[in-house]
Symmetry: C2
Subunit: 244 residues, 2 copies
């Protein structure tokens, strides 16, 4: 229980387990026993149970039919489909925003984030960290533009799944030069997306949002093998959720 994350035993346990799951230290299918975990983390069973229940809410664990918890298996195909689903849902958000007319304040916020994203390319060096943060903000704003609490909530949920976050691949960097170009294209799509929403072009906005996730899928394939490789385990400890 090293991590100082969280203010009580439950949250610390939750943080430790989340990190270990996302880092691949606990492979998919691993069953987690309350007593063993409680001893290992030096807390009682109660906060362990509580933490595991919350990790089920996050989608990282699942309950066994007769009690007990197990780490969810995230196979390559699952991850690719998660990214696809994010594209579909963000597409719905963009379409709704265009059709219903987006909240002016939220739109202004989106413009501001766009400017900040541009600033990341200003110098010779690309500021990847700033881009990751602003990118996250942009996608969160997109969810809000639709004015649908349900959609916003479900999108947040998807973003916590492994590689479900819009900025999930930014920590990898790849070849900096090529990567910078990829991000430039992405930023162009951001601008087109906001323009489409402003012009009330629902179908265009939806198509753009869907296409926008393709690089993420491609990056994933490049990093972790093509198609239907075995469950992934290597360093997935990235882009931790905002709160527990």
């Amino acid at each position: 229980m090293d991590a100082a994350t969280g203010r009580n035993h439950t949250m610390r346990t939750q943080a430790v387990l989340r990190r270990q799951i996302l880092a691949g230290e606990l492979p998919g299918g691993t069953r987690l026993y309350e007593v063993a975990l409680a001893e290992r983390l030096d807390v009682s069973r109660t906060p362990v149970r509580e933490a595991m229940a919350r990790l089920v809410e996050e989608g990282l664990l699942e309950r066994g039919p007769k009690g007990g918890f197990a780490v969810r298996a995230f196979e390559t195909a699952d991850v690719l489909d998660t990214i696809e689903l994010r594209g579909v849902m963000e597409g719905m958000a963009a379409r709704l925003a265009a059709e219903r007319g987006a909240d002016p304040a939220a739109l202004a916020g989106a413009q501001e984030v766009l400017a900040r994203l541009d600033a990341c390319f200003a110098g010779d060096e690309t500021d990847f960290d700033a881009y990751a943060e602003a990118n996250r903000e942009f996608h969160a704003l997109l969810a809000r533009l639709a004015g649908s609490a349900t959609l916003e909530r479900e999108l947040e949920r998807i973003a916590r799944l492994p590689f479900g976050s819009p900025s999930a691949f930014l920590p990898f960097r790849m070849q900096a030069g090529e990567f910078r170009d990829i991000l430039r294209v992405g930023q162009h799509e951001h601008r087109m997306l906001v323009e489409a929403i402003l012009r009330r072009q629902g179908a265009r906005a939806e198509a753009l949002a869907r296409e926008h996730v393709r690089p993420a899928q491609e990056n994933f394939r490049r990093l972790f093998g093509r198609g239907d490789a075995p469950p992934l385990s290597p360093a997935m400890a990235l882009d931790p959720p905002a709160a527990g």
Copy 2:
């Protein structure tokens, strides 16, 4: 704790609370206190906590920022968006099934369910109950046709939200004659959907699945006021989830 549902205190508590939430007896925003509930249901705080945690997973409760649970508010707009979201996700499932080629066994199962749905119209009387059950099966199969565990899981989740189920409106019956006709149209859409998947027509399959949820939205508006009425409370006790 009347209900004999479930085999232990946790599941019974969960069932009781779920029923009361869906029935509108606990309006959105109502805070649920562990001690009060434990006394009312004559169990200890432990199973109450556990049951509430599981209801958060189902999406019926939410956690307060500083602990505690509250009933989620389901406004008219939220419900309409939930139905829309189901359409979008089923659209993705149909498209994937068409693009990737659906599992033959699952397709055969779908054909069998289609036949059973037809049978509900055989006599002069429409068998609404049988239709509701078969309809649920059909939509579950649709989720499986896509061959995506992630999508299947998220669709299941949507189906447990209030009015998120494909058969959510069948218990209402409305005017039997008109309703029969609506169902006939729906059944025609089912057939077209399967045909589109068989012919690998992804875009058509997606469009059909999306359109297929419109009657549900319309029914909801007719039953609970148009547009942006206040939170709904009247009898939403219908279509209980399969398991706890």
